[in-house]
Amino acid sequence: MRLINKITLIFLGVSFIVFLIGGLVTYKVIGDEIKKEEKWFLLERLTSTEKYIGRKQPQNPIIRDKVIILPQKDSILTDNYIFSDTIVYHRTLERPELHNKLEVGKKIEGRFYKITLYDIIIEQDDIIDGIVESLFKTYLILLALVLIMGWILSKRLLIPFEKTLQSIRHFDIKETEPVEFHKTGTKEFKRLNQFIENMSSKIRRDYQSLKEFSENASHEIQTPLSVAKGKLELLQDTPLDENQQQLVKEAQKSITNISKLGNMLTLLAKIDNHEFDTRNQINGSEILEEIIEDYKELIYLKGLKMDLDIEEDVQVSINSTLFEILVNNLLKNAIKHNVNTNGYISVEMNRAYLQFKNSGILLKSDPNLLFGRFKKENFKTNSLGLGLSIIKKICEVNNMSIDYSCKEQEHILTVYFH
């Protein structure tokens, strides 16, 4: 629910309660006022009734509409004004109605009279009707005004907020230009913008330094590794027994792994840094065939059956180095994660996609998880678990999509060009 709608609803709810209480108060005030008026009215009528009695000096009781005069034989208490409510049948309305009643004893011309007057100016339900109607109409006007105002205000007042949201949505951590914010006079929005500005520049600074660090680290690591590698080779040239040779060999292997890891991380960082942004139209089929040619020997040695279905002159819009890395990794994967007997690789390429199918062991985990860095299906020490993340990264920066599925003993990796 939008903020302005919430505020409007709350406001309307509160004003509804206020209107209810206001109605009651109004009812009470008007009722009291009317009662007071009625008393005055009854007292005035009493004066004219007294005059009438003085003139006529009736012997018998007079019972008329709204007036009862009862002559008394004995003396009674006089000038004792008793106001009360009574329900009397209203002739014109033809129904019982609450009336104001005045009972008083009077001594006029030496005789005692008991006078009862009752009357009604405004009926109870008329007051209620009036109040309810007027308040309801006022409430409707208020409702309409609040809704219109809310709509206009949200359009005008919340513009800076919407703009800020837009800026956040378009925030790209890799860009270096500062985030642009709409100028606003509202204090809260100013603070919000200031906060987001500080936060985004801090995020970018952190990201930048982290990126530089990982790039430099993976690059700088190569030199000491070279040194270590060389020392081990010098050691290898000295007379060693088999056990020592073995140890040196293991150490060499680990160094090679670290160095490869460094290279791959540098590659990932480079792709992230848009160092391969220059795209050309390249003949994908030609490059694919050349790379497959390079691997023919390995495929043969591993006893894999190779099946090619490559359409000629497929043009791909991508950096050629990246495309080579992509194909290399895909092919390497298909060879490495294959089975030892009756294995096969089939490669299909056309204008829409490039697909590698190969036999392999059934995956235990979700194939798409393997796109993550350092994710591997089994913990063969020679696999770094970066191959698929490089493939994915290359696809990402070139707006290609990749799909990996595994059905029984067959792995299918498809790269869709768009």
Binding site: H219, E220, Q222, T223, L225, S226, V227, A228, K229, G230, K231, E233, L234, Q236, D237, E242, Q245, Q246, K249, Q252, K253, I255, T256, S259, N263, T266, D294, Y295, E297, L298, L301, K302, T321, K332, I335, K336, K380, N382, S383
Partner: protein, 226 residues
């Protein structure tokens, strides 16, 4: 063979120096651009190893000046970047070969020997392992005038052994020498094994000798043949 090593990393430079000396090279070192250009101007070298990133200059400029002076020097570039750009530019500038750090010293040494053969001896060279002769100009192997038919990979492997006698070659060394970075280690080991098996069989058939010995768990080495 006189070699100049231009490398600012002292430890790395010392490694290269020690290893190449062991291989029979005459080695001198330069740790910066200035010393390197000085030495190149003053002395004659057969081979120069150049690191591209030097504290006071760019290794590529050494290449240009070598080529400009028409010196017949074999050059090999070392780079920590392992970028295709560096490789292409280096080779364009006239370098004979390119090695990305970290590299195997045995690889460096083998490549230097190959460069030396093609450049200095114009390829008219043969290397002997006992009675077996490798003619590197025509890529042929003969045992007492009888040609041994080897595949390209088997020939390269035999040459690798021949240029590094006395040394134990690990499967990793051999794999990287033959295939470069193409394949991952575990895979390549099987292939190395297959190739070695075939090579041994072919040579044994021709010469009745098994010239390669297995160092258990480590790799292979040439048998010492008198």
């Amino acid at each position: 063979m006189k070699v100049l090593v231009v490398e600012d990393q002292l430890e790395l430079s010392k490694n290269i120096e020690a290893y190449l000396k062991n291989d029979g090279f005459h080695v001198s070192c330069a740790y910066d651009y200035f010393t390197a250009s000085d030495k190149i101007a003053a002395f004659e070298y057969d081979l120069v190893i150049i690191d591209l990133m030097l504290p006071d200059g760019y290794g590529m400029d050494l290449l240009y000046s070598l080529r400009a002076n028409q010196k017949n020097v074999g050059t090999i570039i070392l780079s920590a970047k392992n970028s295709l750009d560096d490789k292409v530019r280096g080779l364009d500038a006239g370098a004979d070969d390119y090695l990305a750090k970290p590299f195997h010293l045995i690889e460096l040494s083998s490549r230097l020997k190959a460069i030396y053969r093609t450049r200095k001896l114009q390829g008219e060279n043969s290397i002997s392992i006992g009675n077996i002769k490798l003619y590197t100009d025509v890529y042929e192997v003969k045992f007492e005038e009888q040609k041994i038919d080897l595949t390209k990979k088997e020939y390269e492997m035999l040459l690798f052994f021949a240029t590094n006698p006395k040394r134990v070659l690990t499967k990793q060394n051999i794999a990287e020498h033959l295939w470069g970075d193409y394949i991952d280690q575990a895979d390549s080991y099987d292939f190395v094994y297959q190739h070695i098996k075939n090579l041994r069989r072919k040579i044994e058939k021709a010469s009745q000798m098994d010239i390669i010995e297995t160092v258990y768990g480590v790799g292979y080495k040439l048998k010492s043949i008198n």
